[in-house]
């Protein structure tokens, strides 16, 4: 398979001074709009082969970033280059090539898989340029790669559990042999035992197919396990970036420290003395969070 995007020494993904604003009506029945700054002056780069995590809470801009990277939306200002090529304002053909190179796995496999299509067709759908038979055989291969039996191809999404559906999403993402896998909270909707299976699978396929991984999550402990580097975001801005172990053990930004303190791991909870009071930060309700006062 020829590679339309050349391999380069420069970072594979290069985000420079990107802003994204949305204008949103203030409240129903009220006039005027306000501008929401989803991303403010974001600059970061991801080298080829890296497992890059983006962590933050709802509204921090992590999903906006992912939509921009996957070419689903364009930045309001700034530049996003993938393999040296500007992706904003590309022709439909360029965007198609980009999307083939950058595939996305979403959080909720219930809503991201077409309920009326058989699993084999869902997986084969991106393979437009191949013959039907070749596409089907590649889909079968992908099913096997994600740990599903070949018979799974004949069934419909609703016949699978959440974890199996996420395997199907991963198979569909991988079938066009992308260079980058973008994962948006891919394990947040899963049960604990299944989450571990899917995380193992993601780590396996990233290694097996030499992928660059961009993994967006609210959960720093998940990112710590699967990623090398983490960018912590808050309110549309990058607050900290570095090797994930360093960030986890010695967070520099106040926000990162708060995030880690608020979500202790089971190990650290059990290691703390019996009946250790619940982490207490109850009285610091942040006025910025209060939509009603805007």
């Amino acid at each position: 398979m020829t590679d339309p995007l050349e391999r380069t020494e420069a970072p594979l993904i290069d985000v420079r001074a990107v802003c994204r604003t949305y204008s949103r009506s203030r409240l129903p029945l009220r006039r005027g709009t306000r501008t929401v700054h989803a991303l403010r002056d974001l600059t970061m780069s991801v080298p080829e082969g890296e497992r890059f995590g983006v962590v933050g809470e709802s509204g921090c801009g992590k999903s906006t970033l992912l939509r921009l990277l996957s070419g689903l939306e364009a930045p309001s200002s700034g530049s996003i280059r993938v393999a040296g090529r500007e992706i904003a304002g590309g022709s439909p053909r360029q965007m198609r090539l980009l999307r083939q190179q950058m595939q996305v796995v979403f959080q909720d496999p219930r809503s991201s898989l077409d309920p009326r299509m058989r699993v084999r067709d869902i997986i084969a759908e991106p393979l437009l340029e191949h013959s039907r038979a070749a596409a089907r055989s590649m889909a079968g291969e992908m099913l096997e790669a994600v740990g599903l039996p070949p018979s799974a191809g004949d069934r419909y999404p609703h016949q699978f559990s959440g974890g199996e559906r996420q395997r199907i999403s991963i198979a569909r993402a991988l079938v066009s042999r992308p260079r980058v896998l973008l994962a948006d909270e891919p394990v947040s909707a899963l049960d604990v035992s299944v989450r571990a299976q899917i995380l193992n699978l993601l780590a396996d396929v990233v290694e097996r197919y030499d992928l660059t991984l961009v993994f967006v999550s609210h959960d720093l402990s998940v990112v710590r396990w699967i990623c090398d580097t983490v960018a912590v975001m808050n309110r549309g801005q990058l607050v900290e970036i570095g090797p994930v172990e360093r960030v986890y053990r010695a967070p520099q930004a106040n926000y990162t420290q708060a995030l880690i303190a608020a979500s202790p791991s089971l190990r650290s909870v059990l290691a703390a003395g019996p009946d250790d009071p619940v982490a207490r930060s109850s009285d610091d309700a942040d006025p910025e969070d209060l939509e009603v006062f805007r």
Partner: protein, 330 residues
Amino acid sequence: MTGAETMLRVEGLDVLGAGATLVRGMELALTAGERVALIGESGCGKSLSALALLGLLPEGLTASGSIRLVGVEHDLVGAGERQMSAIRGRRIAMVFQEPMTALNPTMRIGRQVAEAFRIHGRVRGRRAAQAAAIELLERVRLPEPGRIAGAYPHELSGGQRQRVVLAIALSNRPAVLVCDEPTTALDVTVQAQMLGLITDSVTETNAALLFITHDLAVAATACRRVLVMYGGRVVEAGPVRVVLSRPRHPYTLGLVAASDLEPLASRPGRRTRLTTIAGTVPAFGDRATGCAFRTRCPSASSVCETDPAWSQTGDRGVACWHPVRAASDD
């Protein structure tokens, strides 16, 4: 009220429906001020058990067994809707996962909280109820409670909405508070605040708390005791730190191992694989006979085709033919 008073006693609770037993033989006693976690993965029956306690089972499902609540003469199992609506929200209250669906979107917050008082006749008069509502909003640590009372649910953040739901649940000082994944939909920093608020509130009112969660760290943070459910049955119970540090049931052991994302010391060498439980949680209809976990259990044998009996030792209990033996036991 003494600290050891039993607020809720559940004996042999079954939930039946669609030709299957969805929850089987649940036993549970909650004392005043006690905080108990009910953990397990989706489909294990934990939410159904909670709905059965409140008499809110979906159409077509029935409960059998016994549910006794302090200060209530009759059994909650088999009680009519009229009896239950006098109890629900007054003696036993519930906080659900999704605060937006628990609130009426067309009603100001203050009126919704006041309604909870007025329905059960605790506060008479509109103005008095409104004042009590604002006081309660302040108790759940909402800033500027007067302004929040005048707001509609969509104007609040998810964390604020969940505080309002908690305020409504606490409005009549219930003997038992049931929380079903109350922090799952919240951001982690808001989640920590909410957990602190819930535990403080039950301590303050000396209520018993049944806290349903899939998150083991949350269970260990918020509660003292834990019940682990699988396939509609409580498979292990005991003090939360002991059970999660030294599980006896292979399912609990698997859950704890799968939750552990801490990379081992071998980093930065090759990434360690996470421990998983093989397979997935079976649907209600596909549960195995005997021990429901045997289809996924590494130590299953033919004896597991028979339902294991509950075996209680001191403050812990387990239902398993092949309980895990830790080196630190005996």
